[in-house]
Subunit: 214 residues, 4 copies
DNA sequence: AATGAATGAGATTTCATTCAT
DNA sequence: GATGAATGAAATCTCATTCAT
């Protein structure tokens, strides 16, 4: 504080505020949806008052949109880059992939965004489109590339790549929904890691017992 | 009321009204969510005026809850009963099951309810619980029974039943989400039937090429 | 009620409402200006509640604009038509004209509109322009025509018509301002009629005593 | 100020601040009215920030009132003194008077105050009263004195002095209104000097052609 | 002396709900 | 049974004012 930089303390605060507000908004929107979320709730959770939000955002809708846009880039770009360069086996790739995904879901903070997009797609179609194009289509393309290389390599058999991607990803989607919607009513904690392990097991071995492949 | 009195035609109308309102409400809630749905929208879509809704329901919340409760029983009970008695092969069962599911998704009318539950689980946790207990847990139990019998029969290998159910069901959940959220932005129509076929193929054969089972 | 016309009473009310609201708004806007006028004030004066205004107008600004547009046409069109056809002496014309104007000012209801336009010209320049073009320019043109004919006839001497119109009209403008701004503080009522008579006397006789014309 | 003491520049600045703020406020109030004028606008135009205004004035209302009171004294007192002592002809007096008035109107800076008073008379009746008593009544009294002496002298004929004052002043009032409200929409600049010349001409000669005095 | 981030009272606007017709 | 004009609580948003820096 008393070091060289003559940064006044409210100046540091000003830098941090938008982020604090977005963090608070993420939670409130995830909980109530866009329409039922009150600016006052968001403010309170961010530790400020209504008015303060308007110093940083022109209105509720822009808070929401900023949130949806902002929270995407970070996580995804890195993953995509690594995946695109990956050249090990598909099974190893998926093991690592679902390992990371499981951690994210268990932690639970960031999984609310997809839920928000799903819930508000009717009210903000442009956001759904944005998410679809910037996140989903890209992720599917990267995953599709990994699979295609596995097919070329002979690691897995040739099937419609588009469908295979979805079959692989579906349990992840389902887990996100589960976590944000039904998990609160679980009597015993659901074991996402074991679930993903079973998924991979079935993916690569099928359900049929050894030697009985249909 | 239950007497022999001659039923006049507007009386039949009266009987039909609540259903018409619920049909309208389903669409509006699916599109906008609970909070953003206006009673006037629902009324307009049902071909009546705002006031009329209050003749049949005490308020917006009750319309929503009735909707959520009402639309569940019908479809499911029958399916569950048939499934419980089913004793053919799992593969045949799933083929029929996903055939029906595909038809429902393509038609698209009834798939909005899960979306509503997901979107509003924060505002109506009791509904999410109800749906979870009455629909999901039951459906999972029925499906689990079918699988367990297949395991007993030696048709499929022994794995955690709970996880297997979810792996099987996940593409269905994903398709429902897709249909209600992202399908409007599809450049070419997504082929749900082929997707489900690929899913079953992978389930029973795995991804690995013949003879390479890991 | 039981007469021929099946007009339900709230139906009659609905017809009358917009007018009642505009009447109320005229008074409140004249008193407080646009920004300081509260929708609740307008509603209260119209004998309704805030919400009702929004059944008839999309918002405060539209109430204001409707008011400004609506209240103009009626009075002016008739006067203009008569004036354009008038072919008596200018002096008689002005005597009648200021007689009517005096009555309007004393009554005081309609003089608030010009004041509103003046006060809000900064916030609603498009209204000031509208008023200028539709009211003032037209009125000046009509008056200019009457004067020109009087010059042609030799009743009055040739001077810049544009300026003469303004000299003639100025005391009227001043009276309107006076009435809406300073009259409340008059210790004795100002006699607009005598003022206008003096004005006409000076117009036609000049200030100089008989025989001393400069 | 005119002393020998070395005046540091920020000290001079401090003295100047209230004046700079009032200058800025005058323009903003004239443009938007009291209620719609934002402290931030005034601050920005004065080249300071909101907070600074509160170092010199207790609040918005006081800025407004100070403005209204302050800007009156200066100009008027001098004029009044000169006019009271004036003993030339009325015509010469008015020629000089309107010459100065024309310059003030064309320059346009100071004419906004009357407009402000008119616009806000409803919200600040005490200001309207103050203006009426301190400015208008005094000005009318001075002008009335000049006219009365002209009547005594036989320069002009005997008419109600009160009305004559208003007839004389009306074109000035009108020009002030015009300038602040409608002039922005002029296609060609209005010539206030010629207008005033025509006014004086009519005042002293009447409208009637030579020898036809009615 | 000056700043500008933060506050919160108060305005506009929306819409579920009521009720006279 | 149905209507739709009217209500008023509750939300969003604005901006005069405060105060730590």
């Amino acid at each position: 504080m008393s070091q060289g930089a003559p940064v006044r303390s409210w100046s540091r605060r000003k830098q941090a505020r938008p982020g604090e507000i977005l963090d608070a908004a993420l939670k409130v929107f995830a909980e109530k949806g866009f329409a039922a979320a009150r600016m006052e709730d968001i403010a309170a959770r961010a530790g400020v008052t209504k008015g303060t939000i308007y110093l940083y955002f022109p209105g509720k809708e822009e808070v929401f949109k900023t949130l949806a846009r902002e929270y995407i880039g970070g996580t995804l770009a890195d993953v995509a880059k690594k995946a695109a360069q990956y050249d090990g086996s598909l099974r190893d790739f998926l093991t690592v992939f679902f390992g990371m995904a499981g951690a994210v879901i268990i932690e639970g903070e960031r999984t609310v965004l997809p839920k928000i997009i799903i819930a508000e797609s009717g009210n903000f179609p442009e956001l759904a489109r944005f998410y679809r194009e910037e996140v989903i289509d890209r992720a599917f393309a990267v995953m599709g590339g990994v699979i295609e290389r596995a097919m070329d390599r002979g690691e897995v058999r040739r099937l419609q790549v588009r469908d295979v991607v979805r079959v692989i990803v579906a349990p992840l989607v389902m887990s996100i929904i589960w976590r944000t919607t039904f998990a609160p009513f679980d009597t015993e904690a659901f074991d996402y890691k074991r679930f993903f392990a079973t998924h991979i097991e079935i993916l690569f071995g099928g359900l049929a017992p050894e030697g009985n492949k249909s």
